[in-house]
Symmetry: C2
DNA sequence: CTGGCGCATTGATGAAGATCAATGCCCGGT
DNA sequence: ACCGGGCATTGATCTTCATCAATGCGCCAG
């Protein structure tokens, strides 16, 4: 393949530069052509400093983006100013999905850290389904995973106590950050203030503070500054009712 | 096409019998071949009476299903018995998504009414992406819509009061049932007890009862038995902060 | 060195909603 | 007509968490 030799000839960027490749790999064995295509899909990169609005709910969003580095939050703000964070986006996650498929963005996205994102044009995105159907199928699976995460968040907000919610959040982020290569074994950096954690969990800032203290007093975990350390994984998991299986991707049968 | 003539020769079932066709139509103009394929996709139908478990969280789920008629609830039950309903499935919606893509179902699904579902084998589902890439793209968009609905549910549970939640639920269901042809202008049948509404909204049964009374006293809407009637759409929408645009599908650019 | 700002921390109070328990109603079965 | 079960309804009490307000700490900019 001539293309392949070109890739080999040029100073190949580290794989982690195309996090979407890593994201889809668990679903199917990617051919060289597919890997190359996914690399090309990562269009020109834009950088945003932390705390910038990347997508604004209610405004047109005509691009689909891939988050290449950094962390973002997807959220909605109600007329009375209350905010609900829906999810955190990690490298490899999509930005502008689902918003770009509506007339107008259905939620907002902001950078929590400095971030790099790659734009994907609609033309590229939809040509993908015709040219690389296996990748199309993998995207379908990837959005299924996203759905599973949202499901769990609904259980958090609807039926878990504040204490359980916090424990669950810590564990979910531990696993997801680990997959993204952003967490050590039992600790990670979480670019959220207590106020923002409250907005993830549907609670108030001061109450988060009390729950954080409680976790520390019980010896389960500590959150100091933006550093989270898990001290007693087993107890924390029991408390949260955490079962990480909703976060584990598996190969698509018949697509290897 | 021989297939087409066969279809024409046999007593063609009414279009509504293949609700997936109707579900995807807003996204793209379907060719005859695509419509035919989608019809074939609806495999053998199974019927379930009301209040049957169709998928059980934690058990293997090796099929993807299309809900042809009736209404189902997707939910999770916590170890302590608390239940959170994640969403209601209406005709045309998927069942077993995302569960069938994991080792083991990530949530349960039960019938709320008598239902009919069509099984889709993995082979069919994934061959779809290669054979009908436009349909693959449409599925991708359909799951985006699902995601948008879940987003709104998260806002409900996280940041809206009980009263607002109930109002929002009524309005969302009104729009979605209308799309499915299951609602009149300002009223519909809702196969949920107050207890189940509570499980949708993350509240307790008795509290739902109070909120229902409140809606009636304020002249906004009544829920009697399984009949919901909206009396003051404008006030109800204002109260709920309802903006139906997250429920409206639009054609995929470049896929017509 | 020194404000000042953002954030964590803490306490006091209040409101929203859970829980528990009782009662009543409707409807289907016998 | 008579039960019985499921559900709606209601009230009393209690918990959880929000809200409000104050204080403190650490860090960055001048």
């Amino acid at each position: 393949m001539t293309q392949e030799s070109v890739l080999l000839a040029s100073p190949t960027p580290p794989v982690a530069t195309f996090p979407l490749v890593e994201k889809l790999r668990p679903y199917l064995a990617l051919s060289d052509a597919e890997v190359e295509f996914l690399g090309d899909l990562h269009g020109p990169r834009r950088k945003y400093a932390r705390h910038r609005e990347i997508i604004v709910a209610g405004r047109r969003c005509d691009h689909f983006f891939i988050l290449c580095s950094g962390i973002v939050s997807r959220y909605k703000v109600l007329p009375d100013g209350k905010r609900q964070i829906l999810d955190l986006g990690l490298p490899g996650d999509f930005i502008g999905y689902p918003s770009c498929l509506f007339d107008v963005a259905v939620n907002s996205v902001s950078s929590l850290t400095d971030v790099e994102i790659s734009a994907v044009s609609f033309a590229q995105l939809f040509s993908l389904f015709a040219r690389f159907p296996r990748i199309g199928a993998a995207l379908f699976c990837a959005s299924a995973c996203e759905l599973a995460i949202y499901n769990e968040h609904l259980v958090d907000l609807g039926r878990r106590s504040a204490y359980e919610r916090l424990a669950h959040l810590i564990l979910e982020l531990m696993v997801r950050l680990r997959v993204a290569g952003l967490a050590e074994d039992l600790s990670f950096t979480l670019p959220l203030t207590q106020e923002l954690i409250a907005d993830v969990l549907g609670l108030s800032g001061p109450h988060i503070n009390r729950m954080v203290r409680c976790l520390r007093d019980e010896g389960l975990a500590t959150i100091e500054g933006h550093r989270v350390v898990i001290h007693d994984l087993a107890s924390l998991s029991t408390l949260a009712g955490f079962d990480e299986h909703y976060l584990t991707r598996r190969p698509i049968p018949g697509l290897l």
